[in-house]
Amino acid sequence: MAANDEPAVRTRELRVERGGNLVLPRLDLEIPRGGVTGLLGPSGCGKSTLMRAIVGVQRLAGGEVEVLGLPAGSPALRSRVGYVTQAPSVYGDLSVRENLAFFGRVLGAGPGAVDEAMAAVSLEAYADRRAMQLSGGQFARVSLAVALLNEPELLVLDEPTVGLDPVLRGELWDMFHRLGAAGTTLLVSSHVMDEAMRCDELLLMREGRVIAQEPPGALLERTGAKDVEGAFMALVEEPSEVA
């Protein structure tokens, strides 16, 4: 699957403090190229902070982050990495099409990219509707569509399916897999555990640390748990059993 031996993301001793709290104390991880990696963990465990560090908008307290072989945030990465924040970040007072047209021009997306991105998130029918008049789920999809405009090599998606109906969520996951199979690397955070089973690989986080990184099947087998939630519990309880 990987077109290149370099991992898509590599962090070394990554340390991040936010508002006086040590969010990521010391994180070493590698995310391989291609496929869908699910980033799971409870709220506040550092998922969003890790994603911000990967896309290069997070100020670091130490360590380094390398993305596609370059330091995170390098100018050369700005058209190769797509990022969707948890809170939709598009212009509420612009129509869906105007939003995509603007970001498309910034990203240097080709003609037709706007229509393709709208189709990918099933928003063609709302093209001329102002983003703020849409429902929460539709608004979030506009934000997601922006990241699809220029077919980036790495897509970092922070909880992209929150508040979506199950049918649409299924469709988006199908799309993630199509992109992943075509060579795109996707890092998708979620706290919906059934979505975890659809990932090629899982990264479980807790209190700023990675507690597991493996395919979901292997994780269940190793922990003997029935689902990812159970596996998470088993991993958290492990150290106390040793003690």
Binding site: V57, Q58, V81, T85, P88, S89, Y91, L94, V106, V146
Partner: protein
């Protein structure tokens, strides 16, 4: 700087303004209404209206663009669109130039409208050329935009941002010479006024209205307005870091 990215930003801001006709209406109408008000306030003292008319013509756009920009940039920061743009191949210079272009165009419309009312309907007179006054007023709008951009970095909420109007703009209005000649102020204030951008905006407007052509003072003061604009834009750009805590 990339022309296409600057244009993309300007077009986007235009689309946003087009979607908000009430704001555009207020931007264009309010200065004109205030000018009419002023004309009747000084009904019995027309010489005062003649004296403050032109400078006010040029200071209105500074104030309104200051407000519009500080709120717009604050919104851009708080809704995450700024952070998203910072992950994309667009420079801060492209973004700011796009804003400057769009707002300067709106300001030009604002200025032409209020100037037309003032000169044709209200009997305001100036020795200098009307185009010079309009050009200076538009430059002042860009200065207001640059200042608004800069102070927006110090506001977390829109409530805070609007407080910069009385906190940052009104003192300049008091000290620039519009209400009283600077020579007649307390010496400390006279010195302080020298540091404020609106002082030079005011002086340049008075000079262009006087109609003595491209005098040394006019060129110098216009240059200073430009310099303040560039410094404020650069300082504003510095308040848009790619990485935040």
């Amino acid at each position: 700087m990339h022309v296409s990215l600057t244009m993309a930003t300007a077009v986007r801001v235009f689309h946003q303004l087009r979607r908000d006709p009430r704001t555009v209406g207020l931007l264009v109408l309010v200065p004109a209404v205030l000018m009419v008000l002023l004309r009747w306030v000084f009904e019995g003292r027309q010489e005062v209206f003649q004296q403050v008319g032109v400078p006010l013509l040029g200071i209105f756009p500074l104030v309104s663009m200051f407000l519009v920009t500080s709120i717009t940039m604050l919104r851009e920061r708080t809704t995450g669109t700024l952070e998203r743009l910072m992950t994309m191949p667009i420079g801060r210079g492209d973004l700011l130039a796009g804003y400057a272009l769009a707002f300067a165009a709106v300001a030009a419309v604002q200025v032409v409208f209020v100037a037309a009312i003032a000169f044709w309907l209200l009997g305001l007179e100036a020795e200098g050329p009307a185009w010079g006054i309009v050009a200076l007023a538009t430059l002042n709008a860009v200065l207001g935009m640059a200042l608004g951009l800069f102070v927006s970095a110090f506001a977390r909420t829109e409530f805070q941002a609007v407080q910069f109007m009385p906190g940052f703009i009104i003192p300049q209005l008091l000290l620039c010479g519009l209400l009283a000649p600077r020579e007649s102020m307390a010496t400390v204030l006279e010195w302080f006024a020298v540091l404020l951008p609106m002082t030079y905006a005011y002086d340049a407007l008075v000079e262009v209205a006087a109609g003595s052509g491209a005098s040394f003072e006019l060129v110098r003061d216009t240059g200073l307005v430009l310099a303040f604009t560039v410094v404020a834009l650069a300082a504003g750009a510095a308040t848009l870091p790619r990485r935040t805590a």
